[in-house]
């Protein structure tokens, strides 16, 4: 009895510490979080020989490991589907989130590789007390033209700040799909939309 309980006690003792460590990582202020993730990822992208020579899977793996834990894909899918999200069943919502996640990860990885040599500047950011939705503004410097803005929308959740939208030059990677998703749902239902997304993902992988 005592022996059986011992591991449990150890776990119980370790739990707060582990939870604390977890919280410390995700409790970064929104701007610090974006700064850390951006610099970590760009550093790898710029140095890695395989990525330099066009290894797409490696970029995707990098994004999966470093970037994704800070993104809330189910929220992103909600934002893109707007009212159709609520009309979808939980299993449709899950299938939709998975397919949209794959699409966004690929797009984001592609953007990273295309712009890897650009300089990214962070705009001043101040978190006001009690704020739960913020925008962290950065910009990509390019010569002979106005810098391209690269803004991150974050929401405060139980497990820390999560990115729910990214805007490049004022174009949201998430809400830009709203009209096309709505028209897909109108013509083929939520299942039709899921099928189109999955087909798009298959096509892109086959390339």
């Amino acid at each position: 009895m005592k022996l059986l309980n011992l591991p449990l006690i150890v776990i119980a003792l370790l739990l707060p510490a582990a939870a604390g460590a977890q919280a410390a990582l995700s409790n970064l202020a929104p701007d610090a979080l974006i700064k850390q993730v951006t610099s970590e990822v760009l550093e790898v992208v710029r140095k890695d020989k395989d990525i330099q020579s066009g290894d797409r899977q490696k970029v995707i793996d990098l994004v999966e490991a470093k970037v994704l834990p800070n993104f809330d894909f189910s929220r992103m899918t909600q934002l893109a589907m707007a009212r159709d999200w609520r009309a979808a069943t939980p299993s449709q919502q899950k299938a939709m989130t998975d397919a949209f996640r794959t699409l966004l990860v690929r797009t984001y990885s592609k953007a990273l590789t295309e712009y890897k040599n650009q300089v990214i500047e962070f705009k001043p950011f101040a978190l006001k007390a009690g704020e739960t939705e913020v925008k962290v503004r950065t910009q990509v410097i390019q010569s002979g033209a106005k810098p391209i803005s690269l803004d991150y929308y974050l929401e405060k959740q139980a497990q820390g700040w999560k990115v729910v939208d990214i805007e490049v030059g004022g174009i949201s990677l998430v809400t830009n799909y709203r009209d096309s998703f709505a028209s897909e749902v109108k013509s083929g239902g939520v299942d039709g939309l899921i099928k189109s997304l999955q087909a798009k993902n298959r096509d892109a992988e086959a390339k």
Binding site: L14, S74, R75, Q78, R86, L103, S149, G169, G170, N176
Partner: protein
Amino acid sequence: MKKVFTKRLSRSSLAAATLLLLGGCATSGNPKDPIEGFNRVMFAINDGIDKTIVKPVAQGYESTLPAPVRTGVANFFGNIDDVFVAVNNLLQGKLPEALSDAGRVLINSTVGLLGVIDVASDAGLEKHDEDFGQTFGRWGVGDGAYLVLPVFGPRTLRDTFGLVLDVQTDPVSQLKDVPSRNTLTATRGISDRARLLPTDKIVEEAALDRYSYIRDAYLQRRRSKIYDGNPPREKFDSSANAAEPPAHAPETAAASVPVSVPVPVSVAGQ
């Protein structure tokens, strides 16, 4: 692939031309895009021109000229553009920006060797992006219908009127000497197009339907530009559902489930 595309293109443009002649316009009911049928045809034609002529030239330009030269070319045209940007900022009542733009032209045209080196940006005078379409938007003129113009591509009705003034006040198109005017216009076009090459690849990855992806991106971008990059966040839920609870209400509960997962994992790891 290309042949199939051209065939499809000519067939669909014929069909749509017929439709237009009959006075009918295919539309999927998007209120922002009332003449979608026509626009899609124009989009396909522009795409064909781009794929066969403009893009290959831009790719050649990018691969033959070293980056510093291309930067110099872009800066040179950027400097000419700044004159026009200053005028538009003035028209929008943004005096500090207009002064900054004028300062940029002054510095870059002299110290920056006719604009080839963007000294002003290094000195902290940031480049702006303005045109008559944005000025009209600033004055409160709404978008109007979405239009795909031949060669010029996506515009709104408002931006089409803006474009007419843009072209008329553009210093390059004011040049009396036709050969140099044409050379400059073409070079600027190629330089601009070359800079968009990375975007092509991203759109390729992202778009379910390129036409609507580019349309919606254009509309979002114009809106953002009119607000100088800081537009009010658009409402996410349709007002038809205003009475219902916010969309994320059930989701926060679901999203909090995975939180507990990493904890035991990290315990096991220790």
